[in-house]
Symmetry: C2
Subunit: 112 residues, 2 copies
């Protein structure tokens, strides 16, 4: 009985992060802004969400962190490695599964 499933629908923040980092390396503060933009303002995640997820993904070996000094400020750039790609792929599948399930449930008997 070792493994427990993740709390149903969590992992959306994680999914978004991984998806963005798949395209190019980015740093935390940048990701906060980017998520607002790519989701068309419909999702907004604070730094209190982003940083912990970033750290936990790095600890888990899904991300590689690289410190850079830019204009006097320190940025921590993250990029996907193999494990991260696998994880992205899994989360994406899971999201698709949930999405289709909910859509099916909402669609039945449209009542219109």
């Amino acid at each position: 009985m070792g493994q427990t499933n993740p709390p149903f629908m969590s992992g959306v923040p994680e999914l978004l992060l991984l998806r963005l980092l798949e395209q190019r390396e980015m740093y935390g503060y940048e990701l906060v802004k980017a998520i607002k933009i790519v989701t068309g303002e419909s999702i907004s995640l604070g730094e209190g969400v982003i940083y912990p997820v970033l750290h936990s993904l790095e600890r888990g070996g899904a991300l590689k962190a690289k410190r850079k000094k830019v204009a006097g400020r320190t940025r921590v750039y993250y990029s996907l490695n193999a494990k991260g790609k696998t994880r992205l792929s899994r989360l994406q599948d899971e999201w698709l599964r949930i999405q289709s399930g909910v859509t099916a449930a909402l669609g039945g008997t449209a009542d219109a």
Copy 2:
């Protein structure tokens, strides 16, 4: 500072329950099976999820409970009341919002 936002993506189980109960009254055990069916097997929620949600919705005044004896067994039928409809509507909007956000994020640069 009174109000805190709901834990991002939760409420999917609740949404599914409310959606089903909008169509007809049902009892807990029935809902467990029904969810598997209407979601095309993509979502499966155990009794340990269903019952607590049902109870909390009833406590919150979103559901009305009615005990019935059928074939020697006791069933608790739940139905939506006004508050429940409002809540369903709100959860549905929220789901749509999240869904469109994630879809937008996943869609960008399809990489195909």
